[in-house]
Assembly symmetry: C2
C-alpha cells in the first residue's frame, strides 16, 4: 500500500506490490527442485536504481502530461516477462524511457505524436505493461529519446448501445475498469486473458490478445466493431459494422500492429449479456493420444464449449488438478439465454468415447447464477457447478505470475511460450517440444527441468499448446540460459511451421521466429503501410517491422 491507501502496482514484478510472495514464501519454493538458491534475490527499491539521465525534456506545451520521475521511468522500462523481472531485480535498467506521458484526451495523443515526430523521439504505446515479449521496451537507438505513452488515464466506457450490444470504450481501460462500467447495464466484454487485471483494451487489440473463450471467439479480433487510431499522419476511424466485405478490413490491419502503425484510442466492441447458465466439468485421461483425440472431436463437433483446456500430467500436477499422472480436460459451457446441461452432456459423451473418465461432479446439473452475484475476473465469474480439478486450475491460473516472480528470486527460470498448429501436427509437436526443450534445458542448465503443457484454445482444425518451462539456473547466468532455451523453442516451433505466438504477440523477443514465419513480401507491404502512417518511424521501433 502507498501512503495514501491506494494499492500500488509492482514496479519490478507482476501485479500488485502487496501480492508479491514474501522472502519466506520464496524460500519454500526453493525446495521445489534441486539447484535453486536458498536465499531469494533481494528486491531493489526504485531509490536504489541508477537510472541514466533523461536524454530529452518535455516541451512546455506538453509538460503537464509528462513525467521523468524515477518511479514512472522504472515502472515503464520493461514488460513482465521472466527476463524483465530478472533484469529489474538485478537493477539492470540501462534503457528506461526518458519520459512517461499520460494523455487524458485523444487530442493529447495527437499532440504528443506531432511533437515526437518533429523531435525525432521514439514513442512506445503502453497499456497495462503486461507484455511478455519485449513489446514495451525500447532502447531508442538512433532517436533523440524515448517516450512511454501510458494510455491508462483514458479508461472510460463512453457509450453503450444496448440494442446492438456494443460499447464504445477508451483503449486505456484495464480489464476490471471496463468490466465494472459494463456491469452497470448487465453486460460484459467477457475477454479474460490471464493478464486481465493488468492489461488494457488497447493492449489487447494491438496484440490480438487471446481471451478465456477456448473455442469459437478466442482472440479479441472477433469482438471489434470499429476502431479509432491516431497515427502520426492523422486519425483513422472505421465505421461501426457487424460485418462487411468492402475491401480488406481496415481494422485487421491495426489488430496485431503492436503500436507500430498508430495509437489505438478507442473502439466499439461487441459486448454480451452476462451469462446466467453455467456448468463446468473435468475429465481425466490415461493417455495423451486419447486426450488429444477427445479434444479434437469436441473442437470439431460444433458444440463450441466456452472452456476446453487440456492439461498434461505435469501441468495438472502443478495446478493441483491431478496428482496421479493423468491428463485433465476442463470443460465448461455457459449461456445468458438457455440452460447448458444438454450441451455439456454431449461434450462429456464425446470425452467418454475417447476413454475419458469424468470426475464425479461432472454428473451434477447446473443452476442459474444471478448476473448480479457473478464475481469479476476469470477466476470466479458465477460458475455454480464445478469440481475440484477445475477449481484448483483456476486458482493457480491467477496466482501463477506471482509464483513465477518468487521462483525467479530463488534462481528458477520460470517462463512460458505458446503456439498453435493444425491437428495433424499437434501430437508430434507436443512430443517434439517436450523432448527437445527438455534436452535443451538439461544441456544448458546442467540439470533436468520441468516442461509442462496445457492447450489454451482449440479450433476445428488445430490447437494452441502453451508450454511452461521451469529450470534451475546458475545465478548470474539466468538470462543467458533462458535466451538459449527460448532460441531453441523458436527453432523447434518454426521447424514445425507452428506459429511463433498464438496470443502473446511478437514484440522484440519473437522477432527471430516471426521473421521466418511472416512472408517476406507481406513484411515489405506492411513496411510500406507503416511508412505512410508513421513517416518518421517513431512508433515502437524494433517491433514487428
Amino acid at each position: 500500500m502507498s501512503d495514501n491507501g491506494r494499492r500500488d502496482r509492482s514496479w519490478w514484478g507482476w501485479g500488485w506490490e502487496d501480492q508479491a510472495l514474501s522472502d519466506q514464501e520464496c524460500r519454500s519454493y526453493a525446495g521445489l527442485m534441486e539447484g535453486l538458491a536458498a536465499d531469494p534475490m533481494p528486491v531493489p527499491t526504485v531509490a536504489d536504481l541508477d537510472l541514466p539521465a533523461p536524454r530529452v525534456a518535455a516541451p512546455a506545451s506538453l509538460a503537464h502530461l509528462m513525467a521523468d520521475t524515477p518511479d514512472e521511468r522504472a515502472s515503464h522500462t520493461y514488460g513482465k516477462a521472466y527476463r524483465d523481472v530478472v533484469r529489474a531485480l538485478r537493477g539492470q535498467m540501462d534503457s528506461p524511457p526518458d519520459l512517461v506521458a499520460r494523455p487524458r484526451v485523444e487530442p493529447d495523443v495527437a499532440d504528443l505524436l506531432d511533437w515526437a515526430t518533429g523531435a525525432g523521439v521514439a514513442v512506445v504505446p503502453f497499456g497495462g505493461g503486461s507484455s511478455v515479449v519485449g513489446g514495451v521496451e525500447c532502447p531508442g537507438d538512433g532517436f533523440a529519446g524515448v517516450v512511454s505513452l501510458d494510455l491508462t488515464a483514458m479508461n472510460r466506457v463512453l457509450e453503450v448501445d444496448t440494442i446492438s450490444r456494443a460499447a464504445r470504450i477508451q483503449a486505456g481501460a484495464l480489464g476490471p475498469v471496463l468490466e465494472d462500467q459494463l456491469r452497470t447495464t448487465g453486460h460484459t466484454l467477457r475477454h479474460y486473458p490471464q493478464s486481465f487485471e493488468f492489461s488494457t483494451l488497447g493492449g489487447w487489440l494491438a496484440t490480438r490478445a487471446g481471451g478465456h473463450f477456448a473455442t469459437l471467439h478466442t482472440h479479441i479480433d472477433d469482438f471489434v466493431e470499429s476502431m479509432r487510431v491516431i497515427t502520426p499522419a492523422g486519425p483513422v476511424e472505421t465505421w461501426r459494422l457487424p460485418g462487411s466485405g468492402a475491401g480488406p478490413s481496415p481494422d485487421r490491419m491495426f489488430l496485431g500492429s503492436e503500436g507500430t502503425l498508430g495509437v489505438i484510442t478507442e473502439a466499439w466492441m461487441r459486448i454480451q449479456d452476462r451469462p446466467v447458465h453455467r456448468r463446468s466439468v473435468s475429465v481425466a485421461f490415461g493417455s495423451g493420444s486419447d486426450a488429444m483425440s477427445a479434444v479434437r472431436a469436441i473442437a470439431q463437433s460444433g458444440l463450441y464449449p466456452a472452456n476446453c483446456r487440456l492439461l498434461d500430467p505435469g501441468e495438472a500436477g502443478l495446478a493441483g488438478a491431478s496428482r496421479s499422472g493423468e491428463w485433465v480436460l476442463v470443460l465448461g459451457q455457459e449461456s445468458a439465454h438457455h440452460p447448458v446441461d444438454t450441451e455439456v452432456d454431449l461434450l462429456v459423451d464425446i470425452a467418454r468415447g475417447h476413454g475419458g473418465v469424468p470426475s464425479p461432479a461432472s454428473t451434477s446439473t447446473s443452476t442459474s447464477a444471478s448476473a448480479a452475484g457473478a464475481q469479476r475476473g476469470p477466476g470466479g465469474r458465477g460458475e455454480v457447478t464445478r469440481d475440484g480439478a477445475a477449481e484448483a486450475w483456476r486458482s493457480t491460473f491467477l496466482r501463477m505470475p506471482y509464483i513465477r516472480d518468487a521462483m525467479a528470486r530463488v534462481g528458477a527460470i520460470t517462463e512460458t511460450f505458446e503456439t498453435a498448429t493444425t491437428w495433424d501436427r499437434v501430437e508430434v509437436l507436443y512430443e517434439s517440444v517436450t523432448s527437445e526443450i527438455g534436452a535443451a534445458v538439461t544441456e544448458i542448465t546442467g540439470r533436468p527441468g520441468l516442461i509442462n503443457c496445457r492447450f489454451t484454445h482449440v479450433y476445428p482444425d488445430g490447437a494452441a499448446p502453451y508450454f511452461t518451462v521451469i529450470a534451475a539456473a546458475r545465478r548470474g547466468s539466468e538470462l543467458a540460459m533462458w535466451d538459449e532455451i527460448k532460441a531453441a523453442s523458436m527453432d523447434v516451433l518454426t521447424r514445425h511451421r507452428a506459429t511463433v505466438t498464438h496470443h502473446h504477440a511478437v514484440g522484440r523477443d519473437h522477432r527471430p521466429g516471426y521473421d521466418r514465419q511472416r512472408p517476406e513480401l507481406f513484411a515489405a507491404a506492411l513496411g510500406a503501410a507503416k511508412a505512410t502512417l508513421d513517416p518518421a518511424g517513431i512508433l515502437n521501433p524494433g517491433v514487428l517491422i
Copy 2:
C-alpha cells in the same frame, strides 16, 4: 448445348445458356408490371458483335496459354450485373479484354504477370465471372492492353487433411467442382453463395464472399487457414495455422483485395463433415418490427442457426413463400454430430415470444439424412424437414438470376444491392431505403417500382439487409436510369454509415460509396502496400484503390 455435347455458359447472361428463359417466357414476365415491353430484346450472337481489334498480341512463350477469339473475349468482357447483361444484349462491347489467358499451373501465372509488367499490360483476375460490381471489367486506359486472367483451369483439390479437416484447393475451382472432389472423403466446404455454380474459390477469397451460413461463419474469411498469392513482386505464402496472433494477419490483407494486390492461386481451407441432422422451419410475422426483434433476439441468443433469412412481405410474395403480406423468417439448423431438434425448438420459442407464428411443418422433427444422399448446391443438400415457404424460397433463390435476365429483356430494371448495419439502425435503414429508393424509382422511371428486402446474414450486433429493385425502364435509358437509382442507394447507405457492400465486393461500381466509407489513411496505406507488391500497377486497375 455446344456441338460436342458440352453444356455451354451464356456469354451475355447468367449461368448456363440452356437455362435462359425463352422469348415466350420473357413475354409472360412483361405482364408483371406496367410499362414493360411486349417484345423481348433479341439476344445477339457473338458473331453479331463488332469487337475492337486486340491491341496487344501474346508473346510466343505464352501464346499457348492465351486466346483472342471473339468467344473468349466476349465472355470475359463483363461480370453478371444487370448493367452488364443490358450492355451485352445491346452489343455494347467497347472494352473487351484484348486477350484471355488460361494458366494451367502456378508458374504460368508468374510468367504472365512478368510479361504483363514488362509490357505495360493490365491484368484482370477472372474466376467464374459472376461479379455484380464491375469487378472484372477493365477499359485499360493508360495500358498497352488488357488481359483477362481466367483461373478456371486450375481447379483441383490438391490435398485433404482429414485429421485437421482442411483441404488445399486451387483458386480456379468453381463451387460444384470443388464440392464434387471434397465429397469423395465425406467433406464439404459448405460455402454456398447464390453464385455457387458460377464462381470460384479464388473469387470468393478475393471478394470476401458471403456464404449460406446466416450466422457465425458468414464470410469465406473464416474458413481460410492459409493462402498462396502470386504478386508481380513474387509469391506470398502464409503458414497453415488454426489461429495466430503474430502481427496483423497476412491473409486478411489479401482477403477482399479484389485482384489488386496479387493473384490467389490456392488456399488451405477449413472443411467440414457433411451434415446429417437438419431441420428447417418458417415463421410468419404480422409486423416488421416484431420480425426484426425476433431475428435480433435469435442472433443474440448464442444458438447460431445455420439459416436465418427474414423476407419482407414483397420478397416473401415474390419468392412464393407467402402471399398474405406477412414477413417470413426461414430458420434452419444442421449438424454432422448431434440432432438439432432442441436447438430449433429454442429458436422457434424465441420467434413465438416476438409474435411469430410457426408454419405447421415447424412442429415436425428432423430425421438423419445420409451424407451420401445429400444433393449438391445450395438448393437441396439433404434437408429432410422443410416446409413450403422454405422450399419456395430456395427454389426462387437459384432461379432468380435467370429470371433477372428475362426481365432485363423486357425492359425491367432488376437489380440488387446489399449492406449491413448495427441493430440500433436496422429498422430505420430499412424504412429509409424502401421509402427513399421507392421515391427515386418513381421519379427516375416515371412509375412506381418494387423495392423488396431480405436479411441474408445476421449478427449479434446487426444485420445484412439485401434489397431488390424491380422497375419498368424506358428502353434505351435503362442503364442511365439504373445508374441514377444506384447512386441514390449508395447515398442513402453511406448517409446511415451502413456498409456499401456486405458481400458483393466493391469493384468499380461501388467506388463512390467505398471512397466515403474507407478511412482516407487506410486507402493510402493500402496503396503503399500495392505499390510494393505490384510496382507497375497492372493488377485490376480502377478497383478499390
